[in-house]
């Protein structure tokens, strides 16, 4: 920003607001992480203090890694998230391309229909989904979760991506057609790279709810082999006694993969959010 358009007072005020928000947003995460490294007594006596040499204790992590098959849970969560994400992006982008590129009867209606899922929470259909999964023998499989999450993520993906795909130059697609590229090549080689920022945005918005979801793993795949991390962490929460060390350690561990994925997408994400703001 140039000197003419910024004043120190306003800059300080803006930073103060942003810092305050950052502190509020990060506070719960920070509390979880610092307490995961403390002994049980310390968690309750000084919950807001960072671990000191006296209170430092890895008992939570030891419990998590010893009890239950936590690596399996992680693996399940990763498989479900990554595969769902891939399917949502692939099918969402393809549907968005069709909606934005081809003129056909009922185009607008189809677009609205595909976007309907944004307004209607998929959990309303839980009973029907469970019956469906029981009937098709998919209960206690990761496939069940992947199918549900793909359905859950598609409406927003189609909605956001079709807006972005409309901005891709028609001339470019036509040039490809004149050069003899197939519609698939045009889609994968010309259009997808140009909407990469939008794809990253959709990826993050899709990924986080899937990774954090407790509802569907609990209902559709609660067996030992198919447990996800969020469900796995529940075994430490008892009706009478809760192993807080283990719960906090499990949650701290659960943050790591999603953080890594986020960092991968974040550079693209920022471009995605600000795209269109400046031409």
């Amino acid at each position: 920003m140039s000197k003419a358009t910024s004043s120190p007072v306003r800059t300080i005020a803006a930073h103060a607001v942003l810092l305050a928000y950052t502190v509020i947003a990060l506070f719960p995460v920070l509390v979880i992480v610092i307490n995961a490294f403390k002994s049980r007594n310390a968690i309750f006596r000084t919950p807001l203090m960072p671990p000191t040499p006296e209170t430092f204790d890895l008992v939570g992590f030891r419990t998590v890694l010893a009890q239950g098959d936590f690596f399996l849970y992680f693996q399940n969560s990763l498989i479900v998230t990554v595969v769902s994400l891939f399917l949502v992006l692939l099918f969402g982008a393809m549907a968005a391309f069709a909606l934005s590129e081809y003129r056909f009867k009922g185009n607008t209606l189809m677009g609205l229909y595909l976007a309907l899922g944004i307004m209607i929470p998929i959990r309303l259909g839980t009973v029907a989904i469970l019956q469906l999964m029981v009937a098709s023998g998919l209960v206690n499989t990761l496939t069940a979760l992947i199918l549900v999450y793909t359905a859950q993520g598609l409406p927003l993906a189609v909605f956001i991506l079709s807006e972005f795909m409309k901005q891709v130059s028609d001339d470019l697609k036509n040039a490809g057609r004149i050069d003899g590229l197939s519609e698939y090549t045009i889609f994968f080689r010309l259009v997808l790279p140009l909407v990469r920022p939008a794809m990253a945005t959709v990826a993050v918005f899709t990924m986080i709810p899937i990774w954090n979801d407790l509802w569907f793993p609990l209902i559709l795949a609660p067996s030992e082999e198919t447990k996800t991390v969020t469900l796995g962490a529940q075994i430490f929460i008892g009706q009478y006694v809760t192993n807080w060390n283990a719960v906090l350690a499990a949650l701290s561990l659960a943050i790591v993969p999603v953080l890594v994925l986020y960092l991968i997408f974040s550079r693209q994400l920022i471009r995605g959010i600000t795209a269109g703001a400046v031409k």
């Binding site: 001339d171 050069d179 010309l190």
Partner: protein, 332 residues
Amino acid sequence: MGSLKIENVKKSFGKVDVLKGIDLEVRDGEFVVFVGPSGCGKSTLLRIIAGLEDLTAGDVKIDGEKVDHVPPAKRGIAMVFQTYALYPHLSVRNNMGLGLKQAGTPAAEIEKRIAASSAMLSLEPYLERRPAELSGGQRQRVAIGRALVREPKLFLFDEPLSNLDAALRVNTRLEIAQLHRRLKATMIYVTHDQVEAMTLADKIVVLNGGRIEQVGGPMELYNSPANEFVAGFIGSPKMNFIDGARLGETAKTIGVRPEHLTVDAKNGTWKGTVIHAEHLGADTNLYIDTEKAGLLTVRIFGVYNAEPGATVYATPEPGKTYRFGSDGKVVA
């Protein structure tokens, strides 16, 4: 090798008729320019010829062959777009070669053609660059090069100069004209700029509201426009139209070009006051509010000093006025 015949082509988008029956013949080696105001259907017609848009009725024949069901890549055409439409992830060389590669042309032949056309357009230093590393003019030359290497029957240009700045536009226009002379290829060029149409075309097709208003050589359109629309569209500044009744004429409208009016401070046909004068150096445009003929634009070659508010007389050159009937067509 590259004649085109369009027979009664119609195109509708839903209920909107964009093209209302176009008949046109383009001979081998001709440079034809489609010109008209925005929304007249000129780009749609070009897209139909390219096969990027389906037609609602009629026929398009390239070299006598019906191409209604032939995909764009198999029609033997090449197209240059307004926004260049270069593949952002490919180098200039691969941008130019992609179409041939898709068609299964041997690599040696592709190399040869890229070398030839990049030499013609002085693109050799940029062959390994990506489009993002080129200036606007260079990008458009690459787009033209991409069309050249295909050695098409028909070159299609869709407003190729609109995104370039004024100086570059003149240069590129010159290059396209030279290219046509050298290749003797059939070219179809769409523009809304009548200067481009006049300078490039062998044959101009003036379109308006989905119909062809007139087809003819540049000077033919300038000297004997068929109707009021063509008369007003070709020529700059625009022709003056005067209500016939005000002049006591039988024709509905009288047209006279700004360059066919002379101005005198003492006497002449139409007395009026100068409203504004534009001094362009080589010529001067005067806007005169006349008592009898209304607001007139006069183009005077050279410098003419006239203050706004001064009284002057405008006189049309004898034999250089046009008479239009109530349907807009020229009448005797």
